[in-house]
């Protein structure tokens, strides 16, 4: 039994790995899925607790997560421990690598925003001359988006915006609060489009509840938790991959599984790390390069809706959210930077006490007067993929299982800085037009990585000399190795990437299944 050869071994149980398992098992292909973290039982692994009952009163243990700003004392156990899973960078250019090692991966807590990319991203070079096009177009991905949105139960509104293709939505027919309507009206006056959020619905919208149960029900999927992949192994005679070496997370016992096809969906940088440690798929020189993400300017503007002060908001004034899709540089170049940014905006809530220049009783009075008066907006900007932003294997540092760690080199450049400043000025203007009072504005991007939208480092392309993967997420160098996560992206736009990751993984799985049926894999 241990020497059995699996049809497909998949690394990772998040959006991409689970989608690959879902699609392959539906077609009758046996899959073994390795997850680095533990399985979980929601009834045992989460419990309601009071913040004052935690040892650090909600602050969390100091220094435990220096690069995971999303972690708090309630969720600390969810995030990959930085001491067990170290990585390195030049202190001048910090990179915040945010990971989760549990069944379901980052889909356990993702923001659920589900936007399609358009040909403004897939064919970005054709539009502005920078970088490279994808080897696929929107038309290639559209049928897969059509299938992924119902699986994730995405709600949204049809808008017919060329830069933000519509999808198969649970139609969002909700109205807008008066404050949101004022902001939308201000945007419209400047020719800036807005729409409702497009989000996956449900109590939990994770691969763990939406994809893996159906895959298991086929009888074709075996899930192995606590299995940390060390290396893709290769048959020297054929040059093809023949399996995966892995180490048990708890015992550190070493294992190997054999497989006809190896699929990496370990997350953008973990899949690349695995290939680098395996010394595979590197002939192009592109492996590890073209790292990018979306930059965030969190709370770019924080304003208040003055009519809501002192609890006097009339019914229907406050509440609600919306989204500004990219609107710059579409049909012509209209800024001093390339591409553009998107914005999440929301009405309601009480602004953080830091925004009020008071303390003591004055502060408490200000907070009481501004309960449910807030309006804020966060910018998510397109980052240009550049060869020099890259990852490599650190020559010294290893993780708790003896696997060499990544060294990450990434920085934002003038294009991103200019875009962030433009976003701040534009949002400030829209708030003024809407009649909001500004509390604060800024254009300071969070460090690269913090948006948890890391992309690239295994990019697709038709040319094996400049890309790692072909248009089917298959490595040019080793035909039976596929990489199905965000590392395959050539450009990212300003849209959250998860929906596109699932569509690409589903498409790659269809190709794999067909090639296996033909005997080509």
């Amino acid at each position: 039994m241990p020497s059995q050869v699996h049809d497909v071994v998949i690394i990772g149980s998040g959006a991409s790995g689970a989608m690959t398992a879902y699609q392959l098992t539906k077609k009758g292909i046996n899959c073994l899925l390795l997850e680095a973290g533990p399985n979980f039982d929601y009834s045992k692994d989460r419990q309601l607790r009071a913040v004052y009952d935690l040892p650090y009163r909600g602050f969390g243990k100091p220094g435990r997560f220096p690069h995971v700003t999303q972690a708090n004392e309630f969720t600390a156990a969810l995030w990959a421990d930085e001491k067990q899973n170290p990585y390195t960078f030049d202190p001048k250019d910090p990179y915040y690598w945010v990971r989760i090692r549990r069944m379901g991966g980052k889909t356990l807590v993702w923001g659920r925003a589900s936007w399609r990319l358009s040909n403004y991203e897939f064919k970005a070079k054709d539009h502005d001359g920078f970088g490279d096009n994808w080897p696929v177009s929107y038309a290639d991905l559209a049928p897969y988006y059509d299938q992924c949105e119902p699986l994730l139960r995405v709600s949204g509104r049809i808008e017919k915006l060329p830069q933000l293709p519509d999808g198969v939505f649970l139609e969002d027919k909700s109205g807008d609060s008066a404050s949101i309507a004022r902001f939308i009206s201000a945007a419209k006056q400047k020719g800036i489009p807005t729409t409702k959020q497009r989000r996956a619905q449900g109590t939990l919208a994770s691969s763990a509840n939406l994809l893996l149960p159906d895959a298991l029900a086929t009888g074709k999927l075996t899930i192995l938790p606590n299995a940390i992949a060390r290396e893709v192994t290769v048959d020297k005679a054929t040059g093809k991959a023949n399996g995966i070496s892995f180490v048990d997370r708890r015992s550190k016992r070493e294992f190997h599984v054999k497989a006809r096809v190896v699929v990496l969906g370990a997350s953008c940088l973990e899949s690349t790390r695995l290939l680098l440690n395996s010394k595979l798929a590197s002939s192009s020189g592109a492996l590890g390069h073209y790292l990018f993400d979306q930059f965030y300017v969190k709370n770019t503007v924080q304003a208040i809706v003055p009519e809501a002060r002192n609890g006097k908001a009339p019914g229907g004034l406050m509440g609600g959210t919306g989204y500004i899709p990219r609107f710059t540089n579409l049909d012509k170049k209209d800024t001093d930077y390339l591409r553009g940014y998107a914005v999440d905006f929301s009405s309601g809530g009480t602004p953080d006490p830091k925004y009020f220049p008071y303390y003591g009783e004055d502060l408490q009075k200000a907070l009481a007067a501004h309960t449910n008066t807030g309006f804020n907006a966060t910018t998510m900007g397109s980052v240009l993929p550049r060869f020099e932003n890259h990852v490599s294997i650190d020559p010294v540092v290893k993780d708790a299982w003896g696997i060499p760690s990544l060294r990450i080199s990434a920085r934002y450049t003038a294009n991103e800085f200019k875009m962030a400043t433009d976003a701040m000025n534009t949002l400030s203007e829209l708030c003024h037009t809407a009649g909001f009072e500004m509390l604060a504005q800024h254009d300071q991007m969070v460090p690269p990585g913090e948006s948890i939208h890391e992309l690239g480092t295994c990019r697709m392309g038709d040319n094996p000399k400049t890309s790692v993967l072909n248009k089917w997420n298959q490595t040019h160098d080793v035909k039976n190795v596929f990489v199905v996560d965000g590392s395959a992206f050539v450009t990212g736009g300003s849209q959250n990437p998860t929906l596109t990751i699932t569509a690409l993984a589903m498409r790659a799985a269809d190709y794999m299944a067909e090639e296996m049926r033909k005997g080509n894999l």
Partner: protein, 191 residues
């Protein structure tokens, strides 16, 4: 009901005693506890802050005194609403600082020493307010360059959090505002 239990019940009835009394009188195990041997317990318990004094671990006596006064000024007790002193915010922050990175420790040490050097502990209300004047400046993304202003900004946020996350504060405020219950889903540490 087992044979033993039936026999015991018959004896209780024959003696004309209430069942529980008879049980305790005749069964030394029952007399030892009113607990239920077949039920798993869920015992109510408290965090230590409410019943015990924490031992200072980071601050000197003067620094802790300054931190206490600062905390009381940032979040005073207002009517029924507990303040930072009720929440022992300064004592909690002393502990948190003892485990914090060096730059955070320096920020607090230098900030508290700077306040003490200005006579913060003996200053009257107007004098203390003058020392806290940097808190009256509008918020900017980047922390103030002046060290005391940077310290005060950090301390304001920390003292507020340490207070509103305390049992003392939550027990009172959650009566008025359901959102202030201070509970959330806690993920169990991975084994």
């Amino acid at each position: 009901m087992t044979t033993f239990m039936r026999r015991r019940r018959i004896l209780q009835v024959a003696a004309g005693l209430p069942a529980a009394v008879a049980l305790r009188a005749q069964n030394p195990y029952a007399a030892a506890t009113s607990g239920k041997p077949d039920e798993l317990p869920k015992l109510e318990a408290i965090p230590p802050d409410g019943v015990a004094d924490s031992k200072p671990k980071f601050c000197s006596g003067l620094q802790l005194a300054a931190l206490r006064r600062l905390a009381d000024l940032i979040v005073p007790k207002l009517g029924e609403t507990p303040g930072a002193a009720d929440a022992q915010a300064a004592e909690f922050l002393d502990f948190l600082l003892s485990e914090s990175p060096a730059d955070r420790q320096s920020l607090y040490r230098n900030g508290l020493d700077a306040l003490n050097a200005k006579g913060f502990l003996k200053a009257d209300a107007a004098g203390a307010a003058a020392m806290l004047a940097p808190l009256g400046k509008p918020w900017t993304y980047k922390a103030p360059a002046e060290p005391l202003a940077a310290f005060l900004r950090t301390a304001k946020a920390d003292i507020l959090t340490a207070t509103v996350n305390s049992k003392e504060w939550i027990q009172v405020v959650s009566q008025r505002n359901r959102n202030a219950a201070g509970t959330s889903l806690y993920w169990t540490e991975i084994a």
